[in-house]
């Protein structure tokens, strides 16, 4: 009977919970309060921890029943516990646990305290392998449906962009034969040859964006790591020097030193946003581009690229992330750069937004979970 079938993902059979906790990449800890004679909570007992928590907190296997305050006195859990009601409140903090930094979320459940732990980017750690970022959340069926439709559109368009210049070349070749059969005074083979050359250039252009699509895909498959921002920005800016035209790309003071992402993906994103900032400069204005990285809501980081360029109308702002959307004729392009960039941001569990004022400039804001 259809209406008695369980919805996929609607509930987890309770008997699977131990296996899930063993498998989980996030550390899970359950603490029970320890009270003094007056009944005030002074410490917690490690009542349960899963293998990931044991690894993250470097706990001995015998730590069950041990004191939490001896493991992580700086976590601020006592203060939270005392202030929190018996359920619902949530507390998050970063917990230095050399060589990594852990991000900790806690919630009070009845008398006890549930913790979830993740390793986030270490500050200056070089001797240990870079900590893993939280894996991007699995895509929803809506996102998958959209990705499938996008792929369909992309393949269709690429096929068209390969076919159209080939069809032209065929027609132009026939035209060239006709022109060459005419008396020299009437013939115009030069126009035909120029258009043939142009068709070849279009084929090359299509092959370039196909290669670019593959590059973005490969970049997303690399493992995420903490990428130092300043050196990467210097490299990307250097590559874009021919577009700079006396302008300037600067990193805002106090920006976060690194971002956790696959390095080629961050390089691609930064390159795309900076290239746009320079290409769509305002006439008569030297491009000024400011890159700023700040902590965002939750565990996110926000990377902003602000320019003083042409700016975008509200209508353009809704179109620029679409596939094959081109707003300007004066710049060569397939209209894919920002589409690929937004896809990359979403693949990383984040998003890419724009705010802009025509004639003043644009700010692209990349929100990335860390």
């Amino acid at each position: 009977m259809a209406d008695s079938l369980p919805l996929p993902g609607a509930s987890l059979p309770p008997q699977l919970l131990p296996a899930l906790l063993d498998l989980s990449l996030a550390g899970v800890v359950y603490l029970e309060p320890r009270r003094d004679e007056a009944g005030a909570v002074t410490d917690f007992t490690l009542a349960y921890f899963n293998p990931a928590a044991q690894r993250l907190l470097a706990l001995p296997a015998t730590a069950a029943g041990a004191s939490w305050q001896q493991v992580a006195p700086a976590a601020g859990l006592l203060t939270f516990y005392r202030a929190a009601g018996p359920g619902g409140d949530r507390y998050e903090t970063d917990l230095p646990c050399p060589p990594a930094v852990l991000h900790l979320a806690a919630t009070r459940v009845g008398e006890g305290l549930l913790l979830s732990l993740l390793a986030v980017a270490g500050t200056e750690s070089t001797q240990s392998p870079p900590p893993l970022a939280e894996p991007a959340p699995p895509r929803t069926s809506e996102q998958l449906r959209r990705a499938h439709a996008d792929l369909d559109h992309f393949v269709h368009r690429a096929a068209h962009d390969l076919k159209a210049p080939l069809t032209n070349l065929e027609g132009l070749l026939a035209s060239l034969r006709q022109e060459l059969a005419l008396p020299a005074a009437e013939a115009d083979p030069a126009t035909v040859l120029r258009l043939m050359q142009d068709s070849v250039r279009r084929l090359q252009h299509t092959l370039r964006y196909l290669a670019e699509a593959q590059q973005w895909q490969r970049a997303a498959a690399e493992p995420p790591r903490a990428v130092p921002l300043a050196p990467l920005l210097a490299e990307v800016s250097h590559e874009l020097a021919p577009l700079l035209g006396g302008g300037r790309i600067a990193l805002a003071e106090g920006s976060c030193p690194s971002l956790v992402l696959p390095e080629p993906q961050l390089r691609g994103l930064l390159g795309q946003l900076l290239r746009n900032a320079l290409l769509y400069r305002a006439p008569g204005r030297v491009p000024e581009v400011l890159v700023r990285c700040t902590p965002g809501p939750g565990r996110a980081a926000v990377l902003e690229v602000s320019d003083n360029g042409l700016g975008l109308s509200p209508a353009q702002q809704t179109q620029i992330f679409g596939m094959f959307q081109r707003q300007h004729d004066h710049v060569e392009g397939a209209g894919l750069g920002l589409y690929f960039a937004q896809q990359a941001a979403e693949q990383a569990g984040g998003r890419l937004e724009v705010s802009s004022q025509p004639g003043v400039g644009s700010t692209f804001r990349l929100v990335l979970p860390q």
Binding site: H156, H160, A164, N168, G171, S175, R326, Q327
Partner: protein, 135 residues
């Protein structure tokens, strides 16, 4: 100004425009030809011409920057029918998805495969312009 029927060819691809112009060459004494490089230019041209001087046929590409063929049709289909009556649109495309083709038809335009062939040009001009080559 002559009173020859006007064909507006809308395509961002210069080679495609050239090839279609060549296809229309045999009709040079019977028709006039105008070109536009995208949907927006085409709309602008339609708007600047007095109603009785508007094209008798628009040949429209689909994939174009600024405003593509579907974008053009979307805007054009909102014109009052009386304004559109004189100027039918035929979409030319080298590959069209079934859904895209349905959209084209729903927006009131005809559809022909690209590249145009001499018989198709002859049919279109006969049908929409009443023009035929002297035999």
């Amino acid at each position: 100004m002559t009173d020859l029927p006007l064909v507006l060819l809308v395509d961002d691809d210069e080679a495609a425009r050239y090839l279609h112009q060549r296809m229309l060459r045999p009709y040079a004494a019977l028709t006039q030809l105008a070109t536009a490089e995208n949907g927006q230019q085409a709309l602008d041209q339609l708007l600047t011409l007095p109603a009785d001087a508007r094209p008798t046929l628009v040949l429209l590409d689909l994939n174009m920057p600024v405003l593509g063929g579907l974008g053009f049709l979307d805007k054009y289909s909102q014109w009052p029918p009386a304004q559109r009556q004189r100027t039918p649109v035929v979409v030319l495309s080298s590959s069209v998805l079934a859904t895209e083709r349905q959209q084209v038809q729903a927006l009131g335009a005809g559809y022909e495969e690209k590249p145009l062939t001499a018989p198709v040009v002859a049919r279109l001009l006969r049908q929409h312009l009443g023009v035929e080559l002297p035999t």
